[in-house]
């Protein structure tokens, strides 16, 4: 597998996964805002902060109201992480290595792109927005299915899966942080009622609600949900599951030592976390630490597989 192609496959799925996960995040928030009590406010700015895009956002928009935040996250092409930009980037990436993917995958990615172009116009009301984003999620899931069903499990597929899982872990860690976005009015009766609704929507955003109910509890209590999303070994979008996947894939690649070390450092951190403590304070900081861990893995991948240097050979015109 060419290093350039491996890197571009990795980024292609990261972009795809980011588009899907952003769509999920927005749909969760839309549902949540419908469930909130009178007088409660939703901090739309939290959403751009969670995505790590607050500087870029406030450069261009004076105020973080719903319409601006939605436009920024969904279709703003100056935002490198907007759904539209991610899909366009993924499509461009796909063009550069159609030869390593099943032939239909280009058609499907292209179709997703054409769909996004037509389904995500200027202003979307909440209902249309929900439907349009479900359409994105569904098409992206078909592509994942197509690749799993028709691609040999060689290096190309491995880098796709690594990219997908790292991006997924990243978004799951960020989504935990959305809990700070709901500002309940001071006179809301105490108790877990709205908290439950909130965490239920978070689980729904990750299509995790049903599995959570089956395997953990019918109540979406905050500490339990946090523990579930961080550490559950079986659900495919939890941080621990994603990183375990990455570790397993890496073991089949040549000399993965340095990358595996970065993965297990982050896994250890996640394993030693405690949901009860985190919901009382420090959830945001913990999410930050996970993201730093993921950046470390990304860095290790680049050094080991994408931008190798060949010190033993004197070669004219080599990078690094």
């Amino acid at each position: 597998m060419l290093s350039r192609v491996a890197e571009s496959l990795y980024w292609m799925t990261r972009n795809m996964e980011r588009a899907e996960d952003t769509a999920r995040l927005i749909n969760a928030v839309t549902l949540m805002s419908l469930d909130m009590p009178n007088g409660a406010k939703f901090g739309w700015d939290t959403l751009v902060r969670v995505a790590g895009l607050d500087d870029l956002f406030f450069d261009q928009y004076p105020e973080a109201d719903e319409a601006s935040v939605m436009r920024f996250l969904i279709q703003d092409e100056s935002n490198p992480s907007s759904i539209m930009t991610c899909i366009a980037n993924a499509r461009e990436n796909t063009r550069t290595f159609r030869e390593v993917l099943p032939w239909e995958s280009w058609e499907w990615v292209n179709e997703l792109y054409l769909y996004a172009k037509s389904a995500l116009p200027g202003e979307l009301d909440r209902r249309n927005r929900f439907e349009a984003l479900q359409g994105i999620i569904r098409r992206r899931q078909s592509i994942v299915g197509l690749l799993s069903g028709t691609m040999s499990g060689g290096a190309a597929f491995m880098f796709l899966r690594i990219g997908r899982n790292i991006e997924r872990a990243d978004m799951t860690s960020r989504i935990l942080d959305v809990s700070h976005a709901v500002i309940l009015p001071a006179d809301t009766p105490a108790g877990e009622q709205y908290g439950d609704l909130f965490w239920m929507n978070i689980l729904k955003a990750l299509s995790a609600y049903q599995m959570y109910r089956r395997h953990v509890s019918v109540h979406a209590r905050s500490a339990q949900v946090v523990d579930f999303l961080l550490k559950d070994a079986l659900f495919p979008r939890t941080v621990a599951h994603c990183l375990n996947e990455v570790a397993a894939i890496l073991s089949a690649l040549p000399d993965p030592g340095s990358v595996l070390e970065a993965v297990s450092n982050t896994l250890d951190m996640v394993a030693s976390s405690d949901g009860e403590k985190l919901v009382k304070g420090g959830l945001h900081e913990f999410a930050d630490r996970i993201q730093l861990g993921l950046i470390g893995i990304d860095d290790a991948l680049r050094k080991r597989y994408f931008r190798l240097s060949y010190p033993s050979r004197q070669v004219f015109g080599m990078e690094e």
Binding site: M1, R95, E99, L253, Y305, L308, Y310, R313, Q314, M318
Partner: protein
């Protein structure tokens, strides 16, 4: 499809006779399209266009900034060629490529053809595509041009003529394959009326042609398609062919040639040896150590590796010396000289401006002739006399006087036509044909090729870089 009120304007029409009736070979097809009815036909055409959009079969036009690719314009009515006729054309194509490869070997080695005064030294002396770096090299099988795209046109006399031989980096074969794929997907039933010879084996043949060049026979060769990158107009094709052959698609920066003079690609597991490179980059950009030093597309040291026999290169550097519109005029003589055979496919009669009397004739008849520069491709820098303005003719007269060696002229051929779906309905449009011919340890020619259509009414320019379209091309065996 109504074929009744169809005027062929004196040109040979591929499907319709002069009396307006379908040719025997096209009867079943014309009947079928007539029965479809306009509504059904429109809906199929819409489906074709949707399929082209969805599959992203694209062609890049350099001037369209911002939007890097454009959907491939495809006409749904196939062009039909009789199988018996094709068998003869195929022989002629192979004969031609054989002779051209003999010529290139001779030119870079003994130059017998010049000593024997068949081919003038002056033509070689001024050749832009002669590569001094190739002198003394004899590639495996004596073959330089492994992939050739020969442009054919059918004149009003009903005969095929060779318009030019593309020996550098001919493109278009992926569109030939995709056109067939589209037709099968959208008009599966029309195939039932004819025995259409398949074209799908091209990529397997290309693979085997390339594999035969491997310096390490016996092992499974590592083949790479070398592309200038995503912004090249033929990038779609590069990636298509790499995918179909199971080859690596590489860019120059993916390859290195260390001191052992072998070519390696940079992989996630370190360096891996490459045996054969199907390069889709022009000579000048291939190796900055030998050719243009400012090239960032190429691979430093590639020529060293090739000359040491450590890598197969297709087409070989320097093959373009025979891809010159003046050299073209000598191909019939080459066939006689090297093969001792009569040429099967005729050239279009050509006037070489380097010969004084010919130049005078050309200058006096600019309004009737097509003038071509020796080394341009893609239909650029041509003068089509009958459609030109006085100012254009004067400009070309000056150009010719300045550099006679660089120009040749041919009578304006009446390119054949075929019914094409246009805005005004079904109308004749001019077309040409580019079959693809392969040579290494074997000789192979496609069944048919890429039919290009000049979509503008009356236009003779079929190049896709200038807005041409294409048709599926059927070589049909026996009676339908």
């Amino acid at each position: 499809m109504k074929c009744e009120n169809y005027l062929t304007n004196g040109a040979y029409d591929e499907l319709i006779e002069r009396d307006g009736k379908p040719r025997p070979i096209a009867t079943a097809l014309c009947d079928h399209f007539s029965k479809l009815g306009n509504a059904e036909l429109s809906s199929r055409v819409a489906a074709v266009n949707a399929a082209i959009m969805a599959s992203g079969i694209t062609f890049t036009v350099y001037s369209e900034a911002g939007n890097i690719d454009r959907a491939w314009p495809f006409d749904v009515i196939p062009r039909i060629i009789d199988g018996h006729e094709w068998a003869r054309v195929e022989k002629g194509l192979k004969q031609r490529l054989c002779a051209l490869n003999h010529f290139i070997t001779d030119i870079y080695n003994e130059q017998r053809i010049i000593r024997d005064k068949i081919f003038p030294f002056e033509v070689l002396k001024d050749s832009k595509n002669f590569r001094a770096a190739c002198i003394g090299v004899v590639p495996r099988f004596g073959v330089w041009a492994h992939v050739c795209g020969t442009d054919l046109v059918r004149h009003s006399d009903g005969n095929f003529y060779v318009l030019e031989d593309n020996l550098r980096v001919p493109s278009g074969v992926s569109y030939m394959l995709e056109n067939r794929h589209l037709m099968k997907r959208l008009f599966p039933e029309v195939f039932g009326h004819h025995r259409v010879l398949p074209v799908d084996d091209y990529t397997a043949q290309l693979h085997d042609t390339l594999a035969a060049l491997s310096p390490r026979p016996g092992e499974r060769p590592v083949i790479a398609v070398l592309t200038p990158g995503i912004y090249n107009s033929a990038y779609f094709e590069h990636s298509y062919l790499a995918q179909q052959m199971g080859a690596e698609l590489v860019e120059g920066a993916d390859l290195v040639v260390p001191e052992d003079d072998c070519v390696y690609m940079k992989t996630i597991d370190g360096l891996k040896r490459v045996d054969v490179i199907y390069r889709r980059i022009d000579d000048e950009f291939l190796d900055p150590e030998v050719f243009r030093a400012d090239s960032t597309l190429g691979v430093p040291g590639l020529m060293r590796a090739w000359k040491s026999g450590n890598v197969g290169l297709a087409n070989a550097p320097g093959a373009g010396v025979a891809d010159d519109k003046v050299v073209y005029a000598f191909v019939p003589k080459m066939i006689e000289y090297y093969l001792g055979e009569d040429p099967i496919l005729p050239n279009v009669p050509s006037h070489l401006c380097m010969i004084d009397t010919e130049m005078e004739y050309v200058l006096a008849n600019l309004d009737k002739l097509v003038v071509k520069p020796a080394n341009e491709s893609g239909g650029y820098g041509m003068l089509i006399g009958p459609q030109s303005t006085q100012a254009e003719r004067e400009k070309f007269a000056d150009l010719i006087r300045e550099n006679p060696r660089n120009y040749m002229a041919q009578p304006t051929l009446s390119l054949s036509t075929a019914p094409t779906l246009c805005e005004e309905g079904l109308a004749p449009r001019h077309l040409d044909l580019r079959p693809f011919v392969l040579q290494s340890d074997r000789l192979y020619a496609t069944k048919g090729g890429l039919t290009r259509v000049a979509m503008r009414k009356g236009s003779l320019v079929v190049n896709s870089s200038q807005g041409g379209g294409s048709k599926d091309t059927w070589v049909v065996e026996g009676k339908s």
